[in-house]
């Protein structure tokens, strides 16, 4: 069961990192600003998920990283919402 959790959380981290990489790569190729903010969003989510990984799997009892997890996730989402509100087209 522990191994199963380990794998699932690891998968979450890797998916987040993959999204970050794909969006970042696309931003470098195209220069579309929406992609920059989206990349930053997933950087935040990645940090949050990595900290979650440490919080629950690596150091389940020694530390509580809850506050540290929420900040980067929220910051990331604020970047994303800013991008969606200002940078997406209007019809």
């Amino acid at each position: 069961m522990e191994t199963f959790n380990f794998i699932l959380y690891l998968m979450a981290v890797l998916t987040c990192l993959a999204c970050t990489a794909l969006l970042g790569r696309s931003y470098m190729h195209t220069g579309v600003r929406l992609l920059l903010w989206s990349t930053l969003c997933f950087v935040g989510l990645s940090i949050s998920n990595i900290l979650l990984f440490f919080d629950l799997i690596v150091f389940p009892t020694e530390v509580d990283l809850r506050l540290w997890r929420l900040f980067p996730a929220l910051a990331g989402l604020l970047f994303l919402l800013y991008a969606f509100i200002w940078e997406s087209e209007d019809h």
């Binding site: 969006l23 195209t30 929406l34 989206s38 997406s88």
Partner: protein, 130 residues
């Protein structure tokens, strides 16, 4: 129909004249019976059942098409298909062909041209770029 049929000119035509799938549907309906004069209610009735637009929207579509030289109105507010040039005629024919043979690609192209930034988010997740 190969991908090469979606040429630069055709993409340009779509970008300037076909802002939405509804406009394409209206145009193609008119194109099917090029000598017929339509009233607005007739047009809305005979559109395919999954195309759901009001008469006001249809009017806006027709105005867009008129300004691009694809339809004409007469004094009694009836409308019919009429391409202003052979080039446009060819583009409409390509549109009809694309609609029949590659509808998904066509729809995606219409929206991609309209929302390039949003589309770029989705395209970022392709491993291999076109």
């Amino acid at each position: 129909m190969e991908d090469s049929a979606f040429s630069e000119e055709f993409c340009g035509f779509i970008h300037t004249a076909i802002p939405s799938v509804s406009v394409a549907e209206v145009l193609l309906l008119l194109f099917k019976q090029p000598d017929r004069w339509w009233t607005l209610p007739e047009l809305c009735r005979e559109l395919p059942p999954d195309v759901n637009i009001t008469e006001t929207d249809a009017g806006i579509c027709l105005e867009t098409l008129r300004s691009r030289g694809l339809v004409e109105f007469d004094d009694k507010k009836l409308v019919r298909y009429r391409a202003a040039s052979d080039v446009l005629e060819a583009q409409v024919r390509t549109l009809a062909q694309a609609y029949n043979e590659r509808p998904v690609t066509l729809i995606r192209m219409i929206y991609a041209l309209r929302d390039p930034k949003i589309q770029s988010f989705a395209d970022a997740f392709k491993f291999r770029k076109r």
